[in-house]
């Protein structure tokens, strides 16, 4: 500890410049900060937990429609985002490592790179949400179930195609869309309406969970930005780096949430094919 890092307090005890007045040692302060972040993440687990509980219950009740609805999400975009987010976790881990070794410059750089990956993730997410909107996956007030009929049509078409292929018949024609619709006309079947609403629940949960996740990323950007600024100012040292470590814990948590969301939302019906 260099002399500039010390100030002499009233009681004649030596205090490190980063040591808050109510702690006795840097180690105690570091332990308290880290434990505090873990406790906060525990709260976050329960916060997301309410949504995961709702998902689990409806997934169990309406498993067939959840799988079918899941097939309308873009696995490629989801997988790309998974990779981007895992890379951002790597850069975050490197930032924490650099702060522990006292490399302020690269601490700041890795933090900014982490933000860049995060922005890429949200960019992809924006493209995806826009696409979802265009193919009528929004579960809002104007959800009428018409998209559900559209899927039924597409599914039936695919089935006929496969059947024709099996028979070796080269020619097959798509069913008349009106025929499909007639089979599932809302006035004819309660079941059709129910299934449409079950698919709607899936998309509701999809949008709630991914938005809440995106919101956590936005909060993360602000916090990482502030800590990157302080890192460039040389605020962190091998003796005092808990802000960097804590933002790292937070960021890894946000990543892990996505690691759970990706299979639950995107891969749910993948075995059924598109």
């Amino acid at each position: 500890m260099s002399a500039t890092n010390e100030t002499v307090q009233d009681h004649g005890q030596h205090h490190h410049k980063d040591l808050a007045h109510h702690f006795d040692t840097l180690e105690q302060q570091h332990d308290a900060n880290t434990l505090g972040m873990w406790a906060f993440l525990l709260t976050e687990v329960l916060f997301f937990g309410g949504l995961f509980a709702a998902y689990t219950i409806y997934r169990y009740k309406y498993s067939a429609m959840f799988e079918e609805a899941s097939n309308h999400l873009d696995i490629t975009l989801g997988a790309t985002n998974t990779v981007i987010l895992i890379l951002s976790s790597l850069t975050m881990a490197l930032a924490v490592r650099c702060s522990q070794t006292g490399n302020s410059l690269w601490t700041g750089r890795w933090l900014l790179i982490t933000i860049a990956f995060g922005l890429m993730f949200l960019g992809v997410k924006y493209v995806e949400w826009k696409h979802d909107y265009h193919i009528h996956l929004m579960p809002g007030k104007d959800w009428s179930g018409k998209d559900y009929w559209h899927w039924q049509y597409a599914k039936k078409a695919k089935e006929m195609e496969t059947e024709a292929h099996k028979k070796g018949s080269a020619e097959h024609s798509l069913p008349n869309r009106n025929d499909v619709l007639a089979d599932n006309d809302p006035s004819l079947g309660v079941r059709g309406i129910q299934e449409s609403q079950q698919a709607r629940l899936f998309f509701l949960l999809y949008f709630c969970m991914t938005s809440l996740h995106a919101l956590h990323m936005l909060v993360g950007f602000v916090l990482i930005g502030i800590i990157a600024y302080f890192a460039y100012q040389g605020a962190y040292s091998p003796e005092y780096y808990s802000p960097v470590e804590n933002i790292g814990l937070y960021w890894h948590f946000v990543d892990i949430v996505w690691i759970f969301l990706f299979p639950l939302l995107y891969l749910l019906g993948a075995h059924m094919g598109h």
Binding site: D24, A32, L46, A54, G140, K141, Q197, R200
Partner: protein, 555 residues
Amino acid sequence: MATVSLESKTFEKFPDVVGRHDDANYLNHDHSIASWLFTLDHKRIGLLYLVTITLMFLLGGALAGAIRLELLTPKGDFLTADTYNKAFTAHGIIMLFFFLIPSIPAVLGNFLVPLMIGAKDVAFPRLNLLSYYLYFAGSVIALTALLLGGVDTGWTFYTPFSSTYSNSYVIVMAVGLFVVGFSSILTGLNFIITVHRMRCPGLTWFRLPLFIWSIYATSVVQLLGTPVIAVTLGLLGVERTLGVGIFDPRLGGDPILFQHLFWFYSHPAVYIMILPSLGVTSEVIATFSRKNVFGYHIIAFSSIAIAVFGFIVWAHHMFTTGISPYAAMVFSLLTFSVAIPSGIKVFSWLATMYGGSISFDTPMIYAFGFLGLFTIGGLTGLFLSTLGTDIHLHDTYFIVAHFHYIMVGGAIMGYMAGIHYWWPKMTGRMYSEFWGKLSAGITFIGFNFTFFPQFILGYLGMPRRYYEYPDEFQVLNVFSTAGASILAIGYSMPLFYMTYSFFFGEKANSNPYGGSTLDWTNTTSPPSPHNFEQTPVVTEEPYHYHGKEAAVVSH
């Protein structure tokens, strides 16, 4: 001190061990407004909470008065049906979220946790101030919802009424509760880390005062339960604004899911309210019996057990909703088992008092009141955890009486005991023992007068949440309303004699009641801004009364 009045002789019995510093304490070292509003001192933040939650308590109490006035006569003549709905909703929300949940943890917890564990402050002082302002912001938003026209869903916000049909300000209120929920989470988080990382040398877990054990258990519940209600209210808001159907059966949703998520927090929330009172009672009974606490370890563990059981009994609020009978049986059994740790505590307190040298000061009178009311509230809970009787008693005044015995009779009596017990430490002044004992007695009588008739009303079948009732119920309702006026007097009295004491009360010495925990033995009254002159070192268990002098030494 020459003035030895009849009613306040106790504190003369105990010598001043720390001495008094009239010139530098946390109250007077800086008088500016900013030094209060931006303070990071846990003691000042505790006082900020004390003032704010007292205002909320008065508002909630006024609403209770309006409800009782309406129920004085069988016909609806004082309030309209709609206003009545809004009044009991506002009463419930204010009393639960804005008074009871922050009461002991935010006021006494903030003040005492660092003092009792020999720390200079809580682990995160800035987060602590943020908690207070989140509480303040949440209160403002909730009051805005009330001023705009109120909410008529009941404090439980049951769907689909709250999500689809209610035309009141559900979303504004939900935002208020969401914000105040984060205040509660951050307070809990702060205390957990403080207890884990800030204890002074020698203060092992089994040397912690029992108040700390109960605050710790409470904090765990706050940390794990509150986020679930936050996300549930969020989903309710999404459903209400977007017209989607996560809880709406017409749209494929399940209203019972809302109830599960709601009670997953709101049942443990009952333990957020009662656990700290159990801790206060342990402290008060030990001090005023001059005796080691009987069964220290088992009381500590029973606090943890209550917190754990609290999380696995929520569906007992839903026995009549058609949940699986097998699930109901399990939840019934688990609910019964909550009685075990609660009973252990009550018997341990009785055993602590047995053979003790009991003095009947105001805090002890409140604690006696607590013991009686908590026991009645707890035992009537067993009627409700029994599946058969619950069908009969569900949604009647029996429930209303039961939870008021726990939350008002238990939690508020404990809170009052705590405020009176630590008042000399918080303000450095003694209050009038005469008025204190009188208010404790009036509160106890008024409380029983108000709520005991409601057990009978409920058993006879009077449903809750109605503003009219058949003529035959009037006598008991008049009893109840009359009792409520007595209760109001009992609760109002401390406002006057405590305020008087704050400015003009006799100066208190550092340990007027002969307490044995660090807050009494090692700090001045009121404490200095940094709490301890020197970091204390603890060498013994708390509550060492058997002829030993205070064994906590400074070094």
